[in-house]
Symmetry: C2
Subunit: 200 residues, 2 copies
Amino acid sequence: MSKRTARGDETRRQILAAATDLFHKQGVAATSPDQIIEASGTGKGQFYHHFKSKEGLVHQVLQTYLETIRNGGGPLNYHITSWDDLGQWFRGQLALQKRYRMTRGCPFGTIGNEVTENDELIRQDLSLIFEVAKARLATFFVKEKASGRLDPSVHEEQLADFCLAMIQGAMLMGKVKRDSHLVEEVVRQTMAHLGSLRRS
Amino acid sequence: MSKRTARGDETRRQILAAATDLFHKQGVAATSPDQIIEASGTGKGQFYHHFKSKEGLVHQVLQTYLETIRNGGGPLNYHITSWDDLGQWFRGQLALQKRYRMTRGCPFGTIGNEVTENDELIRQDLSLIFEVAKARLATFFVKEKASGRLDPSVHEEQLADFCLAMIQGAMLMGKVKRDSHLVEEVVRQTMAHLGSLRRS
């Protein structure tokens, strides 16, 4: 790799990191290219060299999130093989939220709630993220059911969507109320509900 | 009331209605005063006569929502006195979402996910909306428990927060995926969970 390419990659990485942080903090609509350029310590020319538009940048940010859900490397472990893992996955989201003193929600919820009929690419990206996350959780439920450790009437994908919806709603309300206890309680009730579906 | 005051009230009402619709459709950050002025068929002078800033307008929009949750008159019945009412309350939110072909979420979720550390007034408004909604649901659970029709170990306010978080998350995911079936299924599972807490 030439020095020039390496420097270009680093610039691109800096822009992506700054954009990821700002979108999470304040959403997409409130974030201007100028803010991203300033926060990333890059220049306007570099920004538009790497990303043709803000939409293209949002797309790349979401693709990067998707990659970590698929292949790991993110702050949350989506490779769930036990009930403990599932509990950790729930609590890990709250831990992330606490890191920002409950001033931020889930990045997918923050960007997702902004999506309008004109943001079809972004909506598809988020839809895919929710699909892949659902598949991760559902795979665990499928194995548990196949081993007789989960109520046979459970629809695994629907239960996974239930978990995802719950954590999205809990993080939104936790952010609005700046209340980590609320999120803990909603997670506790969800785990209790899941527990009632377990069979030994 | 003088003609002049009546006309002023009507202008104010038009601006509020247009803003409420645009905030629900695309969020606050994406909505400019100019867009609201155009959608309401009013003028810039009238807009700034009635509302000093966009923040003041968001505050009024949320106060109006709060008023309908407290005193009725909105599309959802928050005066819940039976399990049927509760089911209706859940399904009513999906019906509202379907009216917009699943392109919008809950207005409180849409605005709430945008809230940053600089939006303290708006955050307080939304926090109050969630508190009042929680109290409506919790009041029903308190009565059910007192009558021996709900598991005595239930914490009524926490169960109410659980219901609110669930519908917020379901509507967000329903919007991102344009999928009313997902919302129906999450509501069904929540009602099943609530059903498991009922005592006859």
